[in-house]
């Protein structure tokens, strides 16, 4: 009961921010705008979901941004260049993301490289390969309208499929992190990797599995962004990793591992996109938008910490 209440309170920061915007501009609260906000959260949200698992183990994944771009390019290659049916192409692109994750997992878990280095290297390689594979040109999905509908189609009227995908991915991630053995071992490793290993858990294998899982989310993000933009943009992606990690950390997941939640990550991602949206709607001069964004993030996280401390004492 109390724990329930606490969970709800975690929304508080987000709610306050949203309330302020709703008062400041009537557009903010409209159905259309709420959908816009959710829509703009999809890609960062997907990346943040996957990387939550990695961060819970105490690792980090810098490759998700450019990895996403590479997956988008691969999707373009499969669907446009090779002419595979788009559902197959999209699936292969997601699996390709898993492959990127597998490489990260092997470098970290098997060869013992620090995750920062291992995934930084992958980040650079993916950035280069995206350009190589695409020959530095965007790949357009014009002839696969079905593919584009993955993002902008509306299975539910007035509700873009991309948001449905994010919701489904969130549900899957939440169940995996909280309820599955994989999630449990992610927490265990993040908490004390040596102890986990000594408890008979094959940490190498599980860590590889976790990075691979994160990679699948990267792949899905690659599909969703290319479906949204109607093209695979080989040069984009850098910078997304920082935003995604920020969402995770704003959501209360600890970079030193062992603590975290999917709900938190989603709230973190929403805080960022609500702020971006609201400030743009208010036509705040752009240079001030970042200033406000920074300050509000600071306050929101501080308030959340204070709240948790208060809850802990009682």
């Amino acid at each position: 009961m109390l724990a329930r209440l606490q969970q709800l309170l975690a929304f508080a920061g987000l709610i306050v921010i949203a309330a302020v915007f709703a008062v400041a501009t009537p557009t903010f609260g409209t159905y259309g705008n709420v959908v816009n906000i959710l829509f703009s959260t999809v890609v960062i949200g997907l990346l943040a979901l996957g990387t939550t698992f990695v961060i819970v183990t105490g690792g980090i994944d810098l490759s998700i941004g450019t990895g996403m771009a590479l997956c988008a390019v691969m999707s373009g290659t499969f669907v446009v260049t090779w002419g595979l049916p788009w559902p197959l192409g999209a699936l292969l692109a997601v699996l390709f993301g898993g492959l990127i994750g597998l490489v990260n997992g092997v470098s970290t878990a098997r060869f013992g490289l620090p995750p920062f280095i291992a995934t930084l290297a992958t980040m650079l390689v993916a950035q280069g390969l995206a350009l190589v594979v695409s020959e530095s040109t965007p790949i357009y999905f014009n002839d696969s309208p079905g593919y584009l509908l993955l993002s902008t189609g509306t299975l539910i009227p007035d509700f873009p499929n991309a948001v449905l995908v994010l919701i489904a991915a969130t549900a899957v991630a939440a169940v995996l992190l909280r309820r599955s053995v994989l999630g449990r071992y992610a927490f265990a490793m993040g908490s004390n990797e040596e102890a986990t290993a000594l408890s008979g858990i094959d940490v190498t294998r599980w860590k590889i599995a976790i990075y691979t899982l994160a990679g699948l989310f990267t792949g899905l993000a690659g599909v969703m962004i290319s479906a949204r933009l109607g093209s695979a943009q080989p040069a984009t992606g850098a910078g997304y990793e920082l935003q995604a990690i920020a969402a995770v950390v704003i959501g209360g997941t600890s970079l030193s591992g062992g603590r975290g939640s999917i709900v938190g990550t989603v709230i973190g991602a929403l805080i960022i996109s609500v702020l971006n949206n609201g400030l743009q709607l208010l036509s705040i001069p752009q240079e001030w938008q970042n200033v406000i964004l920074g300050i509000v993030i600071l306050i929101a996280v501080y308030a959340d910490m204070a709240r948790r401390r208060a809850v802990a004492v009682h």
Binding site: N33, T137, T236, Q280
Partner: protein, 297 residues
């Protein structure tokens, strides 16, 4: 309602540009503001932090439409990514004017832009003339994925291929329009090719970076041809370090954009494209009023 930023009763034009990485955009903004002020209109002018953030720009466009402006100005980072949104704007009867970098779409009523292929060809022509039609020439371009990057590269290489068989082009290098990075690249080019005769920088950041790189390497006698303006580039031309550059007409572009938008709001029919023009300038004509009008610091 259109959001509280759009104060006043005149028409409101929401402009989404490619960012603020280059001064170029400040000049466009200035032109747009001046034109709007004269007509009693309001504008907002936004853009993503770097010219690679296609998705961020699409989100900005989404939010701009949500503000229900009377017209939209749009310089696309990707020529097709915004099609859905443009259709949406059309459905809501918001006229869209493209500028700087056009889109492959029927929606925009017109496009106010430089003919970048031709402008880059003009740069190549001057380069070839300046180095006497033969020798090694290097290109430092802002990126390989944007339309302007590609056109300024291809316009340049295309002209050379067609008209200057004696000119040998080195592999194109990309510096993200970042001055320091472009400078480092330039120095490497000079190191690897001591006999390089000319270097072309394809936009403001690249051109200034090339100047810095040549300066830092201590090399003289390298012919530099640039693009756009900005104080550092103007200084380099005045001092003779840079042979000359192509300038677009950013202030004019901003003004043309707003004026087209206002005409569209009034229901007038617009010409399909507005060529905002480009000029070659060097230290012989840099102070002429015609050129001064299109340069920015």
């Amino acid at each position: 309602d259109r959001g509280s930023g759009a104060a006043g009763d005149g028409p409101y034009v929401a402009i989404v540009s490619k960012g603020f990485q280059h001064q170029f955009w400040q000049a466009v903004k200035k032109g747009a503001e001046q034109e709007a002020a004269g007509a009693g209109a309001t504008i907002t002018f936004e853009g993503p932090a770097t010219e690679k953030e296609v998705e961020a720009q699409i989100t900005m466009l989404t939010n701009a439409i949500a503000k229900r402006p009377d017209a939209i100005g749009f310089a696309a980072l990707d020529s097709r990514a915004a099609e859905g949104l443009l259709q949406q704007a059309k459905a809501q009867n918001i006229p869209v004017i493209a500028f700087d970098s056009g889109v492959e779409s029927q929606v925009p009523l017109t496009t106010a832009a430089t003919d970048n292929l031709a402008a880059a060809g003009e740069a190549a022509k001057h380069m070839s003339e300046l180095i006497g039609g033969s020798g090694k020439v290097a290109l430092v371009v802002h990126d390989q994925t944007s339309l302007t990057g590609q056109q300024r590269r291809d316009g340049f290489t295309g002209w050379m291929a067609a008209n200057a068989p004696g000119v040998q082009l080195l592999p194109v290098q990309y510096g993200e329009g970042d001055q320091a990075r472009s400078a480092d690249i330039t120095k490497s080019i000079l190191g690897a090719n001591p006999d390089v005769k000319g270097i072309y920088g394809a936009n403001e950041g690249s051109a200034i970076g090339v100047v810095r790189g040549v300066q830092e390497s201590g090399r003289t006698g390298v012919t530099i041809v640039g693009f756009d303006s900005g104080k550092a580039q103007l200084d380099a031309i005045r001092s003779g370090l840079m042979a000359g550059a192509i300038t677009q007409n950013p202030v004019g572009m901003g003004a043309a954009l707003v004026s087209a938008a206002l005409r569209a709001i009034r229901g007038e029919t617009l010409e399909k494209t507005i060529d905002t023009g480009y000029f070659w300038y060097d230290n012989t004509n840099i102070d002429s009023p015609e050129i001064q009008a299109v340069l920015y610091q």
